[in-house]
Point group: C2
Chain length 278, copies 2
């Protein structure tokens, strides 16, 4: 799987005792040469918004990834977990839409775009895997309540879902823009923003600093931020100056205050005791 | 795991590549000597209503099973999937209630006692497994919608659930009694009923006949019955004269008609073409 990559998926795969090979993902995208060398039969990727780096896989690389699948009889697991929220650049269709040879398992969820509390997600299988899926998993009872599936169907049929996504995309886009502008204005050269075109979080590279100190200082003034290191297969490979800022749940007009508070606690006070905002 | 035993659980365990040893379950109950010889670290059992045989594990055997767990540092997975529906004999508390050494993983569900559509089940872990569970499964998002959990909580708090179980127990008890009496009256010596004290199905041993013929004849007159053979680890070990009758979903006053129809098609017509009831 791509490395760094979503640790929730990695845990599920390891618990199924599936041997995992890390395939580096960096500024250039997925390392296809490493994928070829790995001998992997399937690869897990998040092309719409690489998790946690936030980059978008370019079209050329998508074609080469599908070509790899054709040539090796491989499978691409495309986790399109939040493609609804893309704020900059041309929209790029999912890999599944380019999948002429039926090589892509497409995974989506309503947890980001609508309500996590529904526990609703979905999977589109290549035809070649359907019989295998039936043989091995037919006896599983589906975990998703049919009551909620039916409610979601009605919600979509009546157009409410599409409206909801349009509305929240604007909302998140505004929050994203405000966060990026405020970070740039307040922190300038001291913090680099990584992965800003989509999604509900950004990575911040606070140069020359350590995530442990950064998160503790932030916690001290009531802001929870995280190290993304658990998404690297070898945690030590995660740059120690990276921290993760989620902005899905914070009102736009509180973003300024939060960023200023971080600036003060990280770069000015040098102490973990918060000052009250006026 | 107990053999025969619920094939849904067997599939999940095999898909996790957990090596499985069949432990015979027969008229005497679970073969504890075979369990000891197996070297198993954990055993899956359905003491309240052995699935699919329908027998209830006696108290003495429950004590010996817990003793096995203590002596071997083992774990007992107790699937108490429909203990709410017990119609004959003294109620026997679950293994978990006798579990002084904290060796039992207790599994329950609301799918039988209330609504399958909620997809609600639960697990009580021994304290010794809690840390392991957290380490390995903390990253899993729970599949059960918190909306439905909250609704169920209110439903239980206000006493509706307890009333519902009392009501349905009476209903199923009446259906069970009617089914058993009708089968005995109509089929007499030709069919033996297995596992009749609890649950929402019975096994029928239609002596000297084959399940394939029996289920096809039944299907021909609109009655779906099944071979329970998929619940034997080696399907060939299932007596070929066994068929499974579910009665959870059939109204009491239609049971007579259904049993008479089965009697006619199995023992009188000798043909697969159904006669219309007058």
């Amino acid at each position: 799987m791509e490395d760094p990559g979503y640790d929730g998926v990695r845990t599920v795969l390891s618990n199924h005792r599936i041997p995992l090979v890390p395939i580096p993902y960096d500024g250039e995208g997925l390392d296809l040469a490493a994928l070829k060398r790995s001998g992997a039969k399937a690869v897990y990727v998040t092309p719409a918004h690489q998790f946690p780096l936030g980059s978008v896989m370019p079209v050329g690389q998508r074609s080469r990834l599908l070509k790899w699948a054709d040539e090796t009889d491989g499978i691409v697991l495309e986790d399109d977990y939040n493609s609804e929220f893309r704020y900059q650049g041309q929209p790029i269709p999912p890999l599944k839409a380019m999948d002429a040879e039926d090589r892509v398992v497409y995974l989506g969820t309503f947890s980001k775009s609508f309500m996590p509390a529904l526990r609703l997600s979905y999977m589109v299988l290549p035809l070649r895997l359907v019989d295998n899926f039936r043989d091995r998993l037919e006896a599983y009872s589906q975990a998703v309540s049919p009551l909620l599936q039916q409610a979601m169907l009605l919600f979509m049929k009546e157009g409410h879902y599409a409206r909801h996504v349009r509305k929240t995309r604007k909302l998140y886009q505004a929050r994203s823009r405000t966060l990026l502008q405020t970070v740039q204005r307040e922190m300038g050269e001291r913090a680099e923003i990584i992965g800003q075109k989509a999604g509900l979080h950004v990575l911040l590279d606070v140069k020359g600093r350590e995530f442990k100190e950064l998160t503790e200082l932030a916690a001290g003034c009531g802001i929870r931020i995280y190290s993304p290191s658990r998404h690297w297969m070898n945690r030590e490979s995660c740059p120690r100056s990276y921290v993760m800022l989620g902005f899905g749940g914070i009102e736009e007009d509180r973003i300024h205050e939060a960023v200023r508070r971080l600036k003060r606690i990280w770069f000015e006070d040098g102490a973990s005791k918060p000052k009250e905002e006026e």
